[in-house]
Symmetry: C2
Subunit: 199 residues, 2 copies
C-alpha cells in the first residue's frame, strides 16, 4: 500500500537496532514530510560517517584516520590500559574523567553459544601491546554480566604471566540506588566488595 521507494526505506529503517515496523513507518513518513534538504542531510551524514570514521588500528576505538584521539594524545599514560567490549564503552569511561590511561576495545565479549571465541575478539592485539607499550596495569572494564565476567577471567589468566597487574571494575549498588530494590546478586557483590570506612 506504500509506494515502492517508501516501502524500500521502511524496510531499510526496520533493519536498524531498536526500530520496529511501526517506528520505521513513522520515520519514513516524517522524512517524506520534511524539507528534501533535511532528508538529504541525514543521508549525507550516513555516507560521510562510513567514509571518515574507522576503528583505531592500535586500540579499536573510533577514529578519523589511523589512530584515535586518545592513542595520539601525549598526555595519556601509556602504562595503564582499560579493556572494554565496545567503542561506546570508551565514551562511558571517558565521561567519568577518572581514567588517564589508554584503551583497548575487544569488539565484543566471549560468548561460546554465539560462536564468539578469543579469535573473534581483539585478544591477540591486546597481548601484542603489553611489551612494546610497557603496559604494567590492565583494568578489565567488560560488562558485569556472564559474558563480560568470563572474558575478564580469561584475560586475567593470559595477562598475569606477563607480569601485568590485572584488576576488575567493582560491582555493587549504583550511586543513588536503593537497597530495597537491588537484586540479590548485585547486593551480594556489594557486600563481598566492601571496603574499610576511614573516618
Amino acid at each position: 500500500m506504500l509506494t515502492a521507494s517508501l516501502q524500500a526505506l521502511v524496510d531499510e529503517l526496520g533493519r536498524l537496532p531498536g526500530i520496529g515496523p511501526k517506528s520505521a513507518q513513522r520515520i519514513a513518513f516524517h522524512l517524506l514530510r520534511s524539507a528534501p534538504e533535511d532528508a538529504r542531510r541525514l543521508a549525507q551524514a550516513i555516507v560521510t560517517m562510513t567514509e571518515l570514521t574507522t576503528l583505531c588500528s592500535r586500540c579499536g576505538n573510533i577514529a578519523e584516520g589511523e589512530l584515535c584521539r586518545i592513542c595520539t594524545d601525549p598526555q595519556r599514560e601509556p602504562g595503564v590500559l582499560c579493556v572494554v567490549e565496545d567503542p561506546r564503552d570508551v565514551v562511558a569511561v571517558e565521561r567519568t574523567r577518572e581514567f588517564r590511561g589508554r584503551y583497548h576495545v575487544l569488539q565484543g565479549a566471549l560468548n561460546p553459544l554465539d560462536g564468539v571465541g578469543p579469535e573473534q575478539l581483539k585478544v591477540k592485539e591486546l597481548l601484542a601491546r603489553i611489551e612494546p607499550e610497557g603496559v604494567r596495569e590492565v583494568i578489565v572494564c567488560t560488562n558485569p554480566n556472564l559474558e563480560g565476567e568470563a572474558t575478564a577471567l580469561y584475560l586475567a589468566r593470559l595477562l598475569r604471566p606477563l607480569g601485568v597487574t590485572v584488576s576488575r571494575i567493582a560491582s555493587g549498588l549504583p550511586v543513588g540506588g536503593d537497597l530495597e530494590y537491588a537484586d540479590e546478586l548485585t547486593l551480594g557483590r556489594a557486600l563481598e566488595g566492601r571496603r574499610p570506612l576511614e573516618p
Copy 2:
C-alpha cells in the same frame, strides 16, 4: 568524545521522531559496524524516497508521479470520499478492505492552539472535488480526539449545503476489548451509538 562525522550522524538521527540521544548513538554505532554497503543502501533509500515519492496532486495520498494508485484505479468508486488526516491513515483504512471509494487527505486536523486553521489543511481542495467528481457521500475518518472531532463537525457544516451525505466513523469499544477497562467517554459513545440487534 565521538569523531566529528559520527557526532554529526548522531545529531541528525536524534532529529527523527521517537529517536532519543541514546537510540541515535546506538544506531550510529550500528551503522559504523555494518558493512559499508548496508549503510550506503540506507542512505540511498532515503534519497530515492525523497526524489520519487510525492503527494498525489488530487487527494494528498502518497504517490510516485502525479496521481496516487487509488486515484488512478478505475475500480475505485469516485462518488464516495473517505477524508483522513494523514497518508498513514489511508494505509490503515485500506487494510480493512472495507472501503472501495477514494480518499482525501487533509494533512492534519484543526488545532487553533498550534495555529492550524482550515487554510493550513486541504479543505479548499476537498470542496473543489465535490462537483467535478460527482461526490455524493463523504465519510469523515479523522481521529476520534478533540482535533479530529472539531474537524469533522467543521467539514460537515461545509459539505451538507453542497448536497453531500456526510457520515462519521463510529466510536465505541475496540473489537476484542474489555468493558471493565474501557474509559467512560468511549463506553458512553458506545452506548450512544448502539445498534439494533437483528436475530
